[in-house]
């Protein structure tokens, strides 16, 4: 299927070097955020530095042992994003504490979540030798997804700001939908890689469009139902868009059929129309996007445009080079440390800084896509591509919403926003992409495949010098 040339070198040392660079950026940002507002080198500084440092080196070591050919760029990028996010959350904590001494700081909890998320990613790397094992859990994943998505609707669920997407767990709240993103991706990758040929060959051809059979539309319909269900019952437009985008891209990659995309877009169109007609909160979002600067829209509560307009003011205040960490007023924007963290970063780091952050996402997504291209199994391709594309889509929805390119929806910025479930889910995604990239980059055995890969690599476990391979 592919003609990508892979040089079989492990590149773990490059990863270590990049990792140190990423840690320097993360810890440096955290130090700058506190300057003039707190004692330098306080408790939080060390907890952030030590957590990030130990956990990322831990993952690095696991990769050296378990997946030495994994992509070397992904881990440093994610550590940098997570660390800069922690610094900004801490910086906003300091502003909030100045106004209200009783304010409960968010950053220490986020550091804890970072440790949990990175630890979970490490465990996943250790436990899951090969991502293909997950294919066995295709239908179990569907059931798990359904349970996760329904959990907030049970008595365990909590409604916050009108959206019912949280459940309360002993020490706090959790968004099961974030994990459902992964399990749904596994289900779709498994289902589509198995039934791909069937879906492709059947169906009528009308002009250039090959229309699918009605029964093959079932997964598509399921995706649509999940998205609309999330929108209706949980009132969460952002997640709904995300789920649907995930299914769309996976179906397209599985079938290479534009007709499927067109059908999907038509269904989205119907969904959006229905949502606009039925749900006032969606219509209000739309209105406060189009007429953000109208006074009656600005002051409207709920559903006013004050948040997005204040975010724009923040970005404008940052301008090209930014005010510098700690020198702007990102605290004037509501939800500056979660939904609007890009506005806060844009204000204090400027266009240059926020473009650098976006470029990190571009690299991350591209490396994920690269893993999808490189791996040989259809399941891995679908999974890596779907998960990577989800990160891109999430960035687009969040930053597009903040810059008023599209209506603002409540979504987290991957790895940066305050919020444990999102961080955990995204780190698990990173672990999966790392595993897939390992199979993509590992030198293929020249002899017919034996029981396990290490034997194929030769007695020493190192790749043979001549093993330049064209992978498919």
């Amino acid at each position: 299927m592919s003609d990508v040339l892979t040089v079989p070198r492990s590149r773990r040392t490059i990863e270590l070097f990049l990792l140190l660079l990423a840690l320097a950026v993360a810890v440096g940002a955290n130090y700058l955020a506190g300057i003039g507002r707190e004692e330098p080198f306080g408790d939080y500084f060390w907890s952030q530095a030590i957590t990030l440092g130990i956990m990322s080196l831990f993952i690095h070591v696991i990769l050296r042992v378990k997946a030495k050919y994994a992509d070397p760029v992904i881990l440093p990028i994610v550590v940098a994003l997570n660390g800069v996010g922690l610094a900004m959350i801490h910086r906003l904590d300091l502003s909030a504490a100045q106004v209200n001494p009783d304010f409960v700081q968010v950053a220490p909890q986020q550091v804890l979540w970072t440790a949990v998320a990175m630890g979970s990613a490490a465990i996943l790397l250790i436990v899951l030798r090969d991502h293909r094992i997950l294919r066995r859990f295709t239908y179990i994943s569907l059931i798990v997804s359904a349970i996760l998505l329904l959990l907030p609707l049970t008595p365990l669920g909590l409604e916050i700001n009108g959206a019912r997407i949280w459940i309360s767990v002993g020490f706090g709240t959790f968004q099961p939908g974030e994990i459902a993103k992964i399990t749904l991706a596994i289900f779709f990758a498994g289902y589509l890689s198995t039934n791909r040929d069937l879906i492709l060959l059947a169906g009528k051809k009308i002009g250039p469009l090959q229309l699918p059979r009605f029964r093959d539309l079932a997964p598509m319909a399921a995706a649509w139902l999940v998205s609309i269900g999330v929108l209706i019952f949980q009132r969460d437009l952002g997640s709904s868009i995300l789920f649907f985008g995930l299914f769309m891209v996976m179906i397209y990659v599985a079938t290479s059929r534009v007709s499927w995309v067109l059908i999907g877009l038509a269904m989205i169109g119907v969904g959006v129309f229905v949502a606009l007609e039925l749900f006032s909160h969606v219509a209000l979002r739309f209105d406060s996007w189009i007429n953000a600067f109208a006074p009656e829209v600005y002051d409207r509560a709920p559903g006013g445009s004050a948040q997005v307009v204040q975010g724009l003011f923040g970005l404008a205040n940052g301008g090209l080079i930014g005010t510098g960490l700690g020198a702007g007023r990102p605290d004037l924007v509501t939800y500056a440390n979660s939904d609007m963290i890009i506005a806060a970063l844009g204000e204090e780091l400027g266009l240059i800084g926020v473009v650098a952050i976006v470029m990190l996402y571009v690299l991350l997504v591209s490396r994920g896509i690269r893993a999808a291209l490189g791996t040989k199994d259809g399941f891995g391709k679908l999974l890596a591509c779907g998960l990577s594309f989800t990160i891109a889509l999430q960035c687009f929805v969040v930053i597009g919403g903040i810059t008023r390119l599209i209506p603002l929806t409540g979504l987290t910025t991957p790895f940066m926003s305050a919020g444990g479930s999102s961080l955990l889910a995204n780190w698990l995604i990173v672990a999966l992409i790392l595993l897939i990239s390992e199979t993509a980059r590992r030198p293929a055995p020249s002899a017919p495949m034996k029981d396990s890969f290490p034997e194929a690599l030769g007695v020493s476990g190192k790749p043979k010098k001549s093993a330049k391979e064209t992978t498919r």
């Binding site: 397209y252 599985a254 404008a316 007023r329 473009v355 996402y361 591209s366 687009f396 930053i399």
Partner: protein
Amino acid sequence: MNQAIRSAWVVAIGMFALVLGSLTFVQFFQAEELTGNPWNSRQLYQEFGRQRGALLVDGRAIAESVPSSDQFNYRRVYNEPELYAHLTGYYSLSLGSSQLELAETEILSGTDSSLFYDRVVRLFSGVDAQGANVELTIDPEIQRLAFDLIPEGQRGSIVVLEPSTGNILAMVSKPTYDPNLLAGHDTGVIAENAAALSEQPGLSFYTNPATESLVSPGSVFKLIDAAAALESGRYDAESQIPNPPALEFPGIEYALPNFVAGGCASRPTADLEFALEQSCNTAFAQIALDLGEEAIQEQAARFGFGETFTIPTDVVASSFPSDLSEPELAQSSVGQFDTRVTPLQMAMVAAAIANDGQLMKPQLVKSIRAADLELIESPQPELMQQSVSQETADQLTDWMVNVVDNGTATGAQVPGVAVAGKTGTAEFSDVGDNAWFTGFAPADDPQVAISIVMENVDIPTGQQLTSPSAKRLIEAVLNR
């Protein structure tokens, strides 16, 4: 499958390109417009987040920024707020600023060019930017006395100047207000307080009545007539002016009378000394008719009429009307009709006569001091213009001393000190009269020039609140 994955990547890159484009649009191309948006409070926060300099009177802060624990780092606090309200003005989040807070804002906020060196030093020493302090010429004891001399509920102003420098020693007006009501950080409360203050009769909190309210001067304006008469060369101490009980005009009903109960009636003709002593309307009206509108106007201008200037707060122009008919000129020349003055303007007239005819520019600022109180700048006394010749000034001084010794202002007499003065009453049929005193002391070596106006009072109350108050103020200044 890989072709489709590449297409997905292209779509992802396309989405990233879109957000990079829209970030650039917002942060670069739209930034200026967004920064200027009236809903954008960031500039305000930046300005209000800085430690603003203090306004000092005799080393004590009457307006200062103290650390606050809210979203702004500092809070503006006014000490003895009602005593100094009209001088400090207010520095408000939603109402802007006024008076010294407005006029000296660049110094107070530290953005003035004279503070450039200070800023550079702070940049390298890492100390937070801080505004400079403004020290006033006000004497706190004189200010307090003047304030107490205006009864609560009485509308009036008192200005005390140092004639040789133009330094303002006291400047008070009532009714007054508490600028702290407008200086909080809750815009809702500010709006409420501002609305309540607007309801208060006689108060417009954004102006300083001593420099910005125009009132009829009445007979104190006769000093300007007398000055014009002497400066014209057509009158001297010997000149006799007809002094009828009322001045009639051919063809109309109106007649300008002398004050019925006054001493003018005792003489059918008067010299200037007597006319001033008893404040005879008809005598001065005839001088004005003789000299003409332009001559009076020109003399008034040489005392500062018709000119707006800053001390450094704004002073509105006092005015003598033009294009007058004879009856109108007659009325205007005795400080009625459309003649309008600020209380400060009449203090300037007295100060110019006191200072050998030299009018010094009134000044409210003694010095600019850096945050560490190091002297940055100290305004020097500035000659505004020569209002009258020294001879005219001497002559007017003698006559004004006579007014206090024998005439309408005997209440201002201070034992052992020659006090020069002139009273006035501007009459209104409907709301009561304006009672005036303007003068200076000691006559031979003037230390203090005073202007007092009490608005909307009956004549006995007005007399009680002017000349005797002048006496108290003169004593206070001479005994400091």
